[in-house]
Structures are given as structure tokens and as C-alpha cells.
């Protein structure tokens, strides 16, 4: 096998993760890890079992996961539903672009966490402020990606379509939209990851349930293994969501990047 084949690098990644996990297991087995700093495997396994069995702070573990996913996904889905049409408008109308883009460009580099106090002030400490924060962040990325997708549709492809006798409406739905689908899906992947990563930040806002809440609360009571379980769960779910969207992308856009 040649060293530059993709399969080769995939194996390297698997081996790299395997070595790290192996070192951790060996260190756990040797008993050199401090359970309250870097917990050994048996402590984490115990914590997972406890969490699954007893839940946390009076709520089952799946409910903690469900609460976080519910917030992340509702913020994300609304951001896609609003961000795609707005992005299409920005990408196809220079006037609309000139009107709204200054605001979006200004908001984009602001770390969402800096907005937490304001969001609590506006939307209270309930679900609304959390979903709103996730929505805003995802929305900002959905619009840029969608707009750049629409702008990157080749001018000649639109002219060719006109010459085939298509109406403006047909060109929009049957040419512009599919031609921007790749950029829209990339935007969805970035936004999905961001939404999920933001859950912890959003749950800093006085949450009573959720993986972010679990991590914060367990830290307060110095239950470090629980903190690790929370973090690892967030990481694994993030990977799964990203993988899911990648799968959709490969199925739907097998032609992408091959022109």
C-alpha cells in the first residue's frame, strides 16, 4: 500500500487513538492515576454505572442527555429553517446583502458566551434564553454558508439554464438550490457542531438538567469522575451527530467536489 492512500492514514488515526486508550488502561491497571484528577478506567466505569442507575440530581441520565440534545437541536433546527432562506436572499440580492450583512458580520466574531448575561436579561433563565443563544450562533453560520453557496453558482450555468427555456422560478428551485446544497450542508455540519458545543455554555444559565448542568454541578461538589463522564458523553454525541451529517452529505452529494 502506498503511504499517501487515504486508507493508510485512517489506520494511523485508529492506531493513535488505540495507543492513547491503551496507555490510559495500563496506567489505570497500575493504580497510578488519582481518581479526583485524572480518573482511572474502573472509576469512570463505576461512575457511568451509577449515573445510568441513579441518574443525577434527581433526574435520570438519559434525561440529562435528552435535555441538552433538545436544546441544541431546537436551536439548530430553527437556525436552519430561518438561516437558509435568509442566506439565499443575501446571496441573490445585493441590496438585501448590503442591508443585513453589516449586522451579521459584526455579530459573528462575538463569543456567544459574552451574550449570556444579556440573553438572561431579555429571555429569562428558562429554556428560551438557551435555545435563543444556540439559535443565534447557528443562524450566523447558516447564513454565511448558504449565501456563499448561492453566490458560487456559476453565472454560465444560470445562462445555460435560461437557454434551455427555464423560467426564473424553475432556475431558482431546480438549479440555484441544488447547486448551493453542498455549501448549505457544510453550514449545517458546522452549525450542528457549534450548537452542540454551545449547550454547555447555554446551560451555565441556571439550568436544572442537562449535560452542561451536570458538569457544572459535579465540579461544584468535586465529583470529578462525573465531570469526565459528562465531557466524554458530549464528545461522543458530537462525533455521532457529525458522522450522521457526513453520511447524509455523502449520500446526497456524491457528485460534490468532483467537477
Amino acid at each position: 500500500m502506498r503511504t499517501d492512500s487515504p486508507g493508510h492514514y485512517w489506520l494511523v488515526s485508529v492506531a493513535s487513538v488505540g495507543v492513547a486508550l491503551g496507555a490510559w488502561l495500563v496506567a489505570s491497571w497500575l493504580g497510578v492515576l488519582d481518581p479526583n484528577r485524572f480518573p482511572p478506567a474502573q472509576t469512570l466505569a463505576g461512575s457511568v454505572a451509577e449515573l445510568v442507575q441513579n441518574g443525577y440530581s434527581g433526574k435520570p441520565f438519559w434525561m440529562q442527555i435528552g435535555a441538552s440534545m433538545g436544546r441544541a437541536l431546537s436551536g439548530f433546527v430553527i437556525a436552519v429553517l430561518v438561516g437558509v432562506p435568509v442566506g439565499i436572499l443575501i446571496g441573490s440580492s445585493r441590496l438585501f446583502d448590503a442591508i443585513v450583512s453589516p449586522f451579521l458580520t459584526f455579530l459573528r466574531p462575538i463569543p456567544p458566551i459574552a451574550l449570556v448575561p444579556l440573553f438572561v436579561f431579555y429571555f429569562g433563565i428558562g429554556e428560551l434564553s438557551k435555545v435563543a443563544l444556540i439559535f443565534l450562533t447557528s443562524f450566523l453560520y447558516m447564513t454565511v454558508n448558504t449565501a456563499s453557496g448561492v453566490r458560487s453558482v456559476p453565472e454560465d450555468l444560470l445562462l445555460a439554464s435560461r437557454s434551455l427555456g427555464l423560467t426564473d422560478r424553475q432556475i431558482f428551485f431546480h438549479v440555484t438550490i441544488p447547486a448551493s446544497a453542498a455549501a448549505i450542508l457544510t453550514g449545517m455540519r458546522v452549525s450542528m457542531t457549534l450548537s452542540w458545543a454551545l449547550v454547555v455554555a447555554a446551560e451555565l444559565i441556571a439550568a436544572q438538567v442537562g449535560l452542561g448542568f451536570l458538569i457544572m454541578d459535579a465540579t461544584t461538589f468535586f465529583r470529578i469522575p462525573y465531570v469526565y463522564v459528562g465531557i466524554i458523553t458530549i464528545g461522543l454525541i458530537g462525533l455521532a451527530l457529525e458522522g450522521l451529517l457526513l453520511l447524509v452529505e455523502r449520500r446526497l452529494l456524491h457528485w460534490r467536489g468532483k467537477q
Partner: protein
């Protein structure tokens, strides 16, 4: 198809504003010619002679500052399927396979399904892509993509076929194959063609008439009637005395 004059270009002029301001650039100046039904006419000239600008006007992508363009006596105002455009870089739908790319235009215009599929298969076979109906554009070579683009235009049975340096991006061998294909298609379907190229041999080999243009401003400086009988076979034509004489004459015109 009705006979007589298909396309008429009358005193067309077009200027473009320069990027840095100043005198506008005179891309086309008083260009007139006409194409009869089933004629193949080429425009050759250096880059900047406005040949592509003119083709875009016939397609309806641009409009002249002076003069007018008529298709069957009607003024050209917008793009339409009566003028099939073949771009140098094939403008295909990467998410559709070969048969769907070809069927796309008629499907959007609401032509009956069974008629579309019969026609699509016919034209796909005509351009030599019969075994590739289920392939996507990214699975095709440059020459095959250009064949696909031609089939997608032919299915509309356009009044004029507009080809903008269609073989310019292809390698030499493929280009010869495409020229041969175009002549075969011309013999079978008798299309009216406006062909843009900077390749003199290509222009002479495929055309009935060649308009030689100069740049700045873009004008027709001479019109050459090719008069080589059809069917033409490249190996025979390219070595023949009349071909050589025409090529030499055109080269001299362009050297000025």
C-alpha cells in the same frame, strides 16, 4: 425547419466601460452578416475581437448598443431554447446523470415524459454516449462532457446552434474527434451553426463560411467561402491544396 435566412446580424456595435475609466472599449463595430438555414458559419479572430460578445448577444445574454440581431426576422431580446448554447466549459448539472441532464430542458418545459425519454436516448446515442446514460458528469472525460452538452442542446431542436470555442479546452486528439462528430451531426440533422474559434484549421474544416475578425475595434475584415465539398474527411481535407490555400490566406489576414 423553414428555409432561407435563419440569423441576421445588422450593423451591431457594442462598447464596454474600461475598469479604470476613460474611453470606453469598442468591442464590436458595425458587424453585419447572416446565416442561412443549415449553414455552418465560423467567426475567427484574436482574443478581444468581440467574437464571444457577439455570440452572447445572439444567445440573448447581452444586447447591442447599435444595430440589431434577428432570428427568423424577429428581434432577439432574451435567451430561449430556439438558440442552443454550447459553452467552452461544459455547463452541466453535476447532480444529474447523463440522461437526466439531456432530459432536463424538455422536462422543465412540460414535454410529455415518453417523448422526452425516446428523444433523450436518441440524442445520447447520436453523440456517442449510449453506454454512459447512468453516469454522472464527474465520471466523464472532458470530451464526453462536451458531447453531453451538445446532446442536451440538440434535444431542444434549436433554430441555431451557438458554439463558443467548444473544443478549445480539449487536447488535440479529442478535438479532432469532436470536429468529426460535429460534421456527422451536421450531415444528419442539418443544424444552423454559429461557431466561435481561434483555430483557423478548425474553422475551415467544419464551416461553409468563415468571417475573419480584427480586434480593437472588433470588425469583420474578410469573409471566406470555404467551398470544400462535404462529406469532409479530416485526413484528406487537411492535406488538400484548397485547404492549404485557405489556411494561408486566413493566416495572412490575421497577421495584419
Amino acid at each position: 425547419m423553414s428555409g432561407g435566412v435563419a440569423l441576421e446580424v445588422r450593423g451591431v456595435g457594442r462598447s464596454f466601460a474600461r475598469a479604470g475609466g476613460g474611453e470606453p472599449l469598442r468591442a464590436l463595430d458595425g458587424v453585419s452578416f447572416s446565416i442561412a438555414t443549415s449553414e455552418i458559419v465560423s467567426l475567427v479572430g484574436p482574443s478581444g475581437c468581440g467574437k464571444s460578445t457577439l455570440l452572447r448577444m445572439v444567445a440573448g445574454f447581452d444586447s447591442p448598443d447599435e444595430g440589431e440581431l434577428l432570428l427568423d426576422g424577429r428581434r432577439i431580446a432574451a435567451p430561449g431554447q430556439d438558440r442552443g448554447v454550447v459553452f467552452q466549459q461544459p455547463q452541466l448539472y453535476p447532480w444529474l446523470n447523463v440522461i437526466d441532464n439531456v432530459s432536463f430542458g424538455p422536462r422543465m418545459r412540460g414535454v410529455a415524459r415518453d417523448r422526452i425519454s425516446a428523444n433523450a436516448e436518441h440524442y445520447i446515442r447520436a453523440v456517442g454516449l449510449a453506454r454512459f446514460e447512468r453516469h454522472y458528469p464527474y465520471q466523464l472525460s472532458g470530451g464526453m462532457r462536451q458531447r453531453l452538452q451538445i446532446a442536451r442542446v440538440l434535444i431542444n431542436e434549436p433554430r441555431v446552434l451557438l458554439m463558443d470555442e467548444p473544443f478549445g479546452a480539449l487536447d488535440y486528439q479529442t478535438r479532432l474527434g469532436m470536429q468529426r462528430l460535429l460534421l456527422e451531426l451536421a450531415a444528419e440533422y442539418r443544424p444552423t451553426v454559429l461557431f466561435i474559434t481561434h483555430d483557423i484549421e478548425e474553422a475551415i474544416f467544419i464551416s461553409d463560411r468563415v468571417h475573419v475578425m480584427s480586434a480593437h475595434p472588433g470588425r469583420i475584415i474578410e469573409t471566406i467561402d470555404v467551398g470544400i465539398p462535404r462529406p469532409r474527411v479530416y485526413d484528406e481535407v487537411s492535406a488538400s491544396a484548397p485547404f492549404m490555400a485557405l489556411k494561408l490566406k486566413t493566416l495572412k489576414l490575421l497577421a495584419h
